[in-house]
Symmetry: none
Subunit: 404 residues, 2 copies
């Protein structure tokens, strides 16, 4: 079997698909009864769907590899996360929901501290709090809106981190980081990594821009300069419309997930990280799309916090939202995760994620409960998460027969 297949020649009309991601839902055994959070939770709806549908395990990136949120989701969208990588700047833009356009150049900024001789004394400016980051970005925004005829956009991210986006004609992203990755030395000069006129022009813009920043922040006690990393344009990836024949929408209250979905051409609907409200948002747009990605964040957060009971609670909350999705009558309803976040690990982990696929066309397997152990015996087997999208298309009747 090839690792990927051009499905476009097979596209045909079919039913609607809902991908309901319970972020980080996979776990490992822990807690008072030594079971996973998903096994501990009461999930009558997911269990019912599992019993009538088919289940399995998905491996998001590569065996043993722990996925970040971006790669984890790309896999579920049918994009091999090892093949589809984008620069840190573009990911940071996706992460804060910045609407990066083709031709824009994005980069990550770290506020830093320089001494009087211009040498870096702290590459993170003492990990300033978010409010301080916002204040500093506010100053930059007010003072610097363009450089050499190029629009300049500033966005706070978290602590010492911010996002810079340049918007204008003829820009390129072939630039080295200015972060020297060491203290006691000055920031590196802006240099290019290729010979394109676009990168050369962007380097010139950056030199002027960084001079302005240094002048502006000279009076700051800690964060008196920025280091720039990961120059990147928006990746020119084929959309889910091109690859899977889908008009797709994302309902995700957290900018990061919305951003990744937008990179593959999904349109963003209103979302609030409130599952009832988010399901209503999805329902309101039901007629306009073929595919809906609904993101549920709280399970991952509880896992990261190491809070087994909270994760169980949030799994049950997500489960309670299933009947409202079923009521819309999707041809295919899948429930899975972008990665595991065992509360015992307090972090993402490499473990495969459980998946259930509910469809009238599904072949029932023997699985009657939606949890990691039960899914391991499911009819979908253990497979790369990039398989989920073509499986959903097939079950929704959206792919014609291949060959005579």
């Amino acid at each position: 079997m090839p690792t990927t297949m051009d499905l476009a020649p097979l596209f045909q009309d079919g039913g609607k698909i809902v991908l309901f991601v319970w972020d980080g839902v996979g776990g490992i055994q822990a807690g008072p009864n030594d079971v996973t959070e998903l096994a501990a939770a009461r999930t009558p709806n997911a269990d019912r769907l599992a019993a009538a549908g088919c289940c399995g395990l998905l491996e998001p990136v590569y065996p043993g590899v722990t996925p970040g949120s971006g790669p984890g989701h790309l896999g579920l969208f049918g994009y091999d996360p090892v093949q589809y990588q984008c620069g840190r700047g573009a990911l940071a833009a996706a992460g804060v929901g910045f609407d990066l356009r083709p031709g824009d150049v994005a980069a990550r900024l770290n506020f830093c501290t320089l001494d009087d001789a211009g040498r870096v004394t702290d590459r993170r400016a003492g990990r300033i709090p978010n409010e301080e980051c916002e204040r500093l970005v506010g100053r930059l925004r007010e003072a610097i809106t363009e450089a050499d005829g190029v629009e300049v956009h500033w966005t706070p991210v978290k602590e010492h981190r911010a996002l810079l986006v340049l918007r204008g004609e003829g820009l390129g992203d072939g630039l080295e980081d200015t972060d020297p990755q060491a203290t006691g030395v000055p920031p590196r000069e802006v240099t290019t990594t290729d010979d394109s006129p676009e990168s050369a022009r962007t380097a010139e813009v950056m030199r002027h821009l960084l001079a302005m920043v240094r002048d502006l922040l000279a009076d700051e006690p800690r964060a008196n300069m920025v280091l720039v990393r990961g120059f990147a344009e928006r990746p020119a990836w084929p959309s889910v419309a091109e690859r899977f024949g889908l008009r797709a929408a994302v309902v995700a209250g957290t900018p990061m997930y919305r951003g990744v979905a937008k990179l593959v051409g999904m349109e963003a609907l209103e979302a609030a990280n409130d599952v009832e409200q988010d399901v209503r948002s999805l329902a309101d747009a039901w007629d306009d799309y073929d595919f809906f990605f609904l993101h549920y964040k709280h399970t991952d957060k509880a896992g990261e916090d190491g809070d087994f009971d909270a994760k169980v609670h949030y799994i049950e909350e997500a489960d309670a939202a299933l009947p409202a999705l079923e009521a819309l009558g999707p041809a295919v309803l899948t429930v899975t995760a972008d990665h595991s976040t065992p509360s015992a690990a307090k972090a993402h982990s490499h473990h495969p994620v459980p998946v259930l696929l509910s469809a009238e066309t599904a072949r029932r397997d023997g699985v009657t409960e939606f949890n990691e152990v039960a899914c391991a015996a499911g009819g979908l087997g253990l497979r790369p998460s990039t398989h989920l999208m073509p499986l959903a298309l097939g079950h929704a009747g959206r792919l014609a027969k291949f060959g005579a």
Copy 2:
């Protein structure tokens, strides 16, 4: 793991292999007891072999993708059907069992209707019945046996469809279709898609040939011309002898399956779509081959007809043929399908197919019944159908150790 591996350096003598294909045998739950046809059928022999051997599920082409018969079989023969695609002409030749040789150029013909000005008024000549197609092909056969020194072979296919094969020195298949894909316009002129002298010569032959056809059929009321599509040479694929070290034979009563097997170098034995007779044909040639592909058609036909009970009946008929195959003493006996054909769907479907592998060297799993749900828990797991051939070779002792 690579998607394919060169096994030739590992070839060694070993036992014989029988691949018994129950066409379309995979199903989904339906019928009075809401089970699959295979679960409903009494298959004491397959169940016994499953209990003593190992089982699994095979995915023929790609997750969610419904295989045609050609791709479905190529996968079972160890040929990735996405990689091994051939032109429509060559497939049509395989489909009618025409013995296409290297250097031949095949093309699909559609009988069509032209008006007095030479414009296409019906691209399918009113979908003439088979008998009419046979009569017209008879006229062509009698009148036109060669053009420009090239042998010309005509074969009826079905309704308005026929097969044309040119046989001679220095031919090529770089030709555009003459089908204009529209009515109200004349057929397209014969043009080439490459600059090779072979394609140019073939275009010249086709121009003369089509002029002869037009003169000959001028007195026909409906089918007074042909449109030509999908010029293709026999694909130059490596044979099962080269790829798997096997002298292989096919026993298939339906030309299509025999044709596909011949494209990978299997030799055709007598076959009648009567399983007892076909097993005897196989037994008669037992000493002459290492590998036998035995095709059983009726299960697929019953699935396509939506006839659950008939499919159950034919599964039981196929099962009853197993002891005669076992009596030959194959080292490996596998039973599987080229694709699923659930009677609930009345068509091929994308669902994985069950597989059982019986061999003295097999590691027994816990599976004791040959059906889709039981096989999902089998020791062979869920895997691409291209894995079956190397698994059979391994179990037959035909592959030496890899590396020290």
